[in-house]
């Protein structure tokens, strides 16, 4: 592993995004626009709905977006031949994956920062806990998205397939994660299933920040699971990268 190569890769990923103004604008603005839409839908009749799910959504956008961006970016790296070239150079697998995680992690920080600010200040999201905690959860979710995207891209041959992984990998986690119905109220089998899906812990953490002002042990555990799974998936992602291909 080399810090020079890792940081160069993070910088390169960010530079690629900087040249793509439209993607950058979408990345930074869309979560806030959707939050505003949600606020507007419920504002007159039942503002407590926005307070209930606002924090969860703030954390889910970075996950979703980073999953998509990463899986497509890595797939492109494979199909354009740049991955093959990098692997003939002094590029470690960990350098590449960490470079991506750092680059996209910084974008996620910016994206979540804007979303939290917009939700808490103009839209008046009612949070019992600290908005900073919400930011930490959002970045953890984004890293989970990056790691899952890197991992899944190994199983996709085309960008079209990569996009199709979203409904397969992301939506079930979303449905089972306690967003629609608290997890303990779901049928027992589904509750057990949700226990092994990492996004459930991210949603639990966001709910805790919505409901309680303190830093509870449970919140620490939830955050630990999200970060832990993200790191484990990065490791698995490294195992799917091959210097030699058939």
């Amino acid at each position: 592993m080399s810090t020079r190569v890792t940081l160069a890769t993070a910088g390169r990923v960010l530079r690629q995004l900087r040249h793509d103004h439209r993607t950058l604008a979408l990345l930074l603005a869309v979560p806030s626009l959707l939050l505003t839409l949600l606020w507007w839908i419920f504002d007159e009749r039942s503002p407590q709905v926005f307070d209930g799910v606002g924090a969860v959504l703030v954390c889910l956008f970075p996950f979703l977006v980073m999953f998509l961006v990463t899986s497509i970016a890595t797939l492109r790296e494979r199909s354009s031949g740049t991955l093959e070239r990098l692997f003939t150079m002094p590029m470690g697998k960990a350098d590449l994956l960490l470079g991506y995680a750092i680059g996209f992690g910084l974008v996620a920080l910016l994206q979540a920062g804007i979303a939290v600010t917009v939700a808490v200040w103009p839209l008046g999201l009612d949070l019992a806990g600290s908005p900073w905690l919400l930011l930490v959860i959002a970045v953890a979710d984004a890293l989970l998205g990056v790691a899952l995207g890197l991992f899944v891209s190994a199983f996709a041959r085309t960008e079209f397939q990569a996009v199709q992984f979203m409904p397969v990998v992301v939506l079930p986690q979303f449905l089972l994660g306690g967003f629609l119905l608290p997890r303990e109220q779901m049928p027992r089998l589904l509750e057990l299933l949700s226990d092994v899906l990492p996004l459930s812990y991210a949603i639990d953490a966001a709910r805790l920040v919505t409901a309680t002002p303190d830093l509870t042990a449970q919140l620490g555990r939830d955050l630990g699971v999200v970060f832990g799974v993200a790191i484990a998936l990065l490791g698995l992602g490294a195992a799917t990268l091959r210097r030699r291909t058939p």
């Binding site: 190569v5 390169r12 354009s80 740049t82 070239r85 003939t88 150079m89 002094p90 590029m91 030699r244």
Partner: protein, 241 residues
């Protein structure tokens, strides 16, 4: 290396997608001149080149590069590789691409300007690679392989589709590098390029038809040019079989 052998391939067998691409290949590449790897499309040139740079899964046989097994970590700053289709980032400028690859290689930043000059792309330094023509894009890809100080350059069809003047300049550049002692292996499916090589490896259906100097090859086969020599050799092997 005393005998200046930079690549040594012995009994190389490669199967891709269930088909035997290289059945049993043995050959050597020496420094001190430009070696041309010539053969029609599909003859296995890229597969051999990928085996030499250590990105191809091989079934059996050995490939030694600069005295080490192909793909060895210590070779990664010593071998420059150009993939057949340009492998550069379309959403970065020419300079940003080269600066990134220089950082990965640990090559000095000054090399970025040097290689842009060598492929005549200084005026496009700030242009996004995605906006360049195909030929310009392959020059960026070639420039990236010239970063650092590779002892062996492995170039997969680097001059296809380029302007004749630029093509001549690049071949001159390959010869200058070779004269400095860099091993240079260039593949092409265009038989005309054979005349620019100091040594030829002719490949057909994964088998080595000839390993000779161009003049000696023509004398031996009595062909007018390398294309004719290639045809003669094909006929001979068919009669023998």
């Amino acid at each position: 290396m005393a005998n200046n052998v930079v690549v040594q391939v012995r009994g190389l067998r490669v199967v891709r997608g269930g088909a035997v691409v290289l059945p049993d290949l043995t050959l050597e590449v020496r420094a001190g001149g430009v070696t041309g790897l010539l053969g029609p499309s599909g003859s296995g040139k890229s597969t051999l080149i990928r085996s030499i740079v250590g990105v191809q899964v091989v079934d059996s046989g050995t490939v030694q590069v600069l005295g080490r097994p192909a793909g060895d970590a210590r070779l990664r700053t010593r071998v420059g590789y150009v993939t057949q289709s340009p492998s550069v980032y379309a959403d970065l400028t020419v300079r940003e691409n080269l600066a990134y690859f220089a950082a990965v290689l640990g090559a000095p930043r000054s090399h970025v300007d040097r290689v842009m000059h060598e492929v005549a792309l200084e005026s496009q330094a700030r242009v996004l690679v995605g906006r360049l023509s195909g030929g310009q894009r392959s020059r960026v890809s070639l420039a990236a392989a010239l970063l650092g100080s590779p002892e062996l350059l492995v170039l997969d069809e680097p001059t296809v589709g380029l302007d004749p003047v630029l093509r001549r300049d690049l071949w001159d550049q390959f010869h200058r590098l070779a004269a400095r002692g860099v091993g240079v292996l260039v593949s092409s499916h265009v038989m005309d390029e054979a005349s620019r090589c100091d040594r030829l490896l002719l490949l057909r259906e994964g088998r080595l038809l000839a390993d000779d100097e161009p003049a000696a090859l023509l004398a031996r086969t009595g062909g007018r040019d390398v294309e004719h020599a290639f045809l003669r050799l094909c006929d001979e092997t068919e009669v023998a079989a």
